[in-house]
């Protein structure tokens, strides 16, 4: 009895050690990543970074203004599309549970959520870039929206199902038609959760470069027209990182820090919206 007990405790101790070691193996490298992004990035975030167009290859100086502006445009458009389609799909799943479209819709949302982002780029290329004949910010937004819709739909459906049925009944009892109940009572009650879903989808979409490689494509000149090719931060980060120029590497770290901060902010907002 006593010898087995000692052995059991030994095993207990060893496993505590292994679990701690495994956790450290996860946290230490991840900590290093955050550290480098912060330390290397902070030096690159000067005024020029935010206000200047890129310098010609090999020259120092210049900034990321076109990429920052492009990110804002492309991500906003993508968020709008994802919101319209994603929330509508969530409303259908939660508020019209018997609708015949729901089983295929649910399958489709599950499947799309697991697809590699680069495939969305291929699709947007075929659907938007080919017919237009050239790359464009809009096609990038379409690719990102395809990626973001399942996230919004799932969040919307989940939070709508948490809204008590009594609220709908109370609204109907007041003589409101169903659509007014949904628009004026149910959706406002679920606002926080829907906002969370939108923020999470934005955090996901804003960091993607793969589906933009052959849709938004990149553009060294400042433009606000989504029908033209556009740069975004992740795209520029990629191009600069694999370039041979040290000053571009420096700016790539700046872009990484800016992206990480934006994504942190989005997920922080998502958490706060959900709490309320």
């Amino acid at each position: 009895m006593n010898r087995t007990l000692r052995r059991r405790y030994l095993r207990d101790r060893v496993m505590v050690g292994l679990v701690g070691l495994g956790t450290a193996a996860v946290l230490v490298p991840l900590f290093f990543i955050l550290y480098y992004v912060l330390v290397q990035g902070i030096g690159a975030l000067d005024l020029a970074f935010f206000t200047r167009p890129p310098a010609p290859p090999g020259e120092t100086g210049g900034g990321m203004l076109p990429a920052i502006a492009g990110s804002l445009v492309v991500d906003t458009l993508a968020l709008l599309m994802a919101a319209v389609f994603g929330v509508a799909a969530g409303v259908l799943l939660a508020e019209y549970p018997d609708h015949p479209l729901n089983p295929p819709l649910r399958l489709v949302v599950d499947v799309m959520a697991g697809l590699p982002a680069i495939l969305m780029g291929l699709v947007a290329f075929a659907l938007v870039v080919r017919p237009m004949g050239h790359f464009s910010g809009l096609s990038g937004s379409v690719a990102l929206a395809l990626l973001m819709i399942p996230i919004v739909t799932r969040a919307t459906e989940g939070v709508l199902k948490l809204v008590p049925w009594e609220l709908t009944e109370a609204g109907l009892a007041l003589g409101l038609p169903r659509w007014r109940v949904i628009v004026n009572l149910v959706l406002p009650a679920a606002r926080g959760g829907i906002l969370t879903g939108l923020m999470l989808s934005l955090a996901r979409g804003a960091g993607e470069a793969a589906p933009l490689l052959f849709t938004a494509f990149g553009n060294p000149y400042l433009t606000a027209n989504p029908l033209e090719p556009m740069d975004t931060l992740p795209l520029k980060l990629y191009v600069y990182a694999i370039s041979p120029y040290p000053d571009w590497h420096r700016q790539a770290w700046g872009a990484a820090l800016l992206l990480a901060a934006a994504i942190m902010a989005a997920s922080y907002l998502a958490r706060r919206a959900f709490r309320r």
Partner: protein, 314 residues
């Protein structure tokens, strides 16, 4: 405004709008499949579906394309990354749920979730400038020199110790899926009812025995489906791999040497493809990637449904 317009028509119109937009989502998904299928038609017609899958040639100049090298590269990197990531990810999840003091649970979980949200390009950048130099000088070179002297047979297996290649890409891929897998495993462990743990403690079990015999078995379906989802993510991960793998589409792959995955191949060559056949071959690689991730996601979904059914019985 007459009442019936406001009621009947309002309800009809609203429902129609919702259904129309939801149909758009379904249509988008169907388009994904259709576009990839049609786009790959030329490649499959030229080489045959299985011919394309099994051919080792990828030569744009001679118009020869086969998916086997990037398919192998994808399978190798993804499964090796998963092997590396699995135990640390599970350990971190177990630590947060079972061992960490209460005040530490939230911050650690938050940190892990944050890192799961960090973009692929950021991991790629970090890998390129922080990870590659020590991997090259501290791991690949010494191993290579050692092998050159003591085990020359290993040299062709190891490949050139340049730091850019299969090994670096796999390491960064593992780092990227660790937070994701850990987060999913944590969700599964957190679902285990406290009463299950207490029942085992009451039999005189140590904490590890409770974890090993009760908590992990209870959560196993959730953990496994998390693993499969992490694998699915590793299969399609693009930017970081593209930045680190060296993009050489030629078998046989070596441990250190450059290689390619399906996603990195598409990312790397798509804008440069200047023949219809090359473009179609790249889309066909995307189609194969689609099939592969459908397969893994179906397995994960099946595991989760089994989990849900098991709970219904409890």
């Amino acid at each position: 405004m007459p009442d019936w317009i406001y009621r009947r028509l309002g309800d009809r119109l609203f429902a129609a709008l919702v259904v129309f937009l939801a149909l758009g989502v379904v249509a988008a998904a169907l388009l994904v499949a259709l576009v990839l299928y049609q786009g790959s038609a030329l490649a499959f017609r030229t080489f045959g579906f299985f011919g394309f899958l099994t051919s080792q040639a990828w030569d744009a100049v001679r118009g020869q394309f086969g998916a086997w090298p990037p398919l192998a590269g994808t399978l190798i990197t993804a499964s090796a990354a998963l092997l590396l990531a699995f135990f640390p990810a599970l350990a971190a999840a177990i630590y947060v749920v079972e061992y960490a003091p209460r005040w530490l649970k939230e911050p650690v979980a938050y940190l892990i979730d944050l890192l799961a949200a960090l973009p692929s390009v950021v991991y790629g950048l970090w890998g390129l400038f922080v990870l590659v130099p020590p991997v090259r000088d501290g791991l690949e070179r010494p191993l290579f020199t050692w092998a050159a002297v003591h085990a020359p047979a290993l040299v062709p297996l190891l490949g050139p110790p340049t730091g850019i290649g299969l090994l670096s890409a796999t390491l960064v891929l593992a780092l990227m899926i660790v937070p994701y897998a850990s987060s999913l495993a944590r969700d599964a462990l957190a679902l285990v009812p406290q009463s299950q743990r207490e029942a085992m403690f009451a039999l005189g079990a140590t904490r590890w025995e409770v974890v090993r015999r009760v908590v992990i078995p209870y959560a196993r379906a959730g953990i496994f489906s998390g693993v499969v989802l992490a694998l699915a993510r590793a299969l399609g991960e693009t930017m970081a791999v593209t930045m680190l793998i060296g993009n050489a589409v030629n078998l046989p792959y070596t441990v250190f040497g450059p290689a390619a995955t399906m996603a990195s191949l598409i990312a790397n060559e798509f804008t440069e493809a200047d023949t219809d056949l090359h473009l179609s071959a790249l889309i066909a690689v995307g189609f194969v990637l689609l099939l592969l991730s459908l397969l893994t996601n179906l397995v994960a979904g099946w595991m989760l449904r089994r989990l849900a059914r098991g709970e219904g019985r409890r």
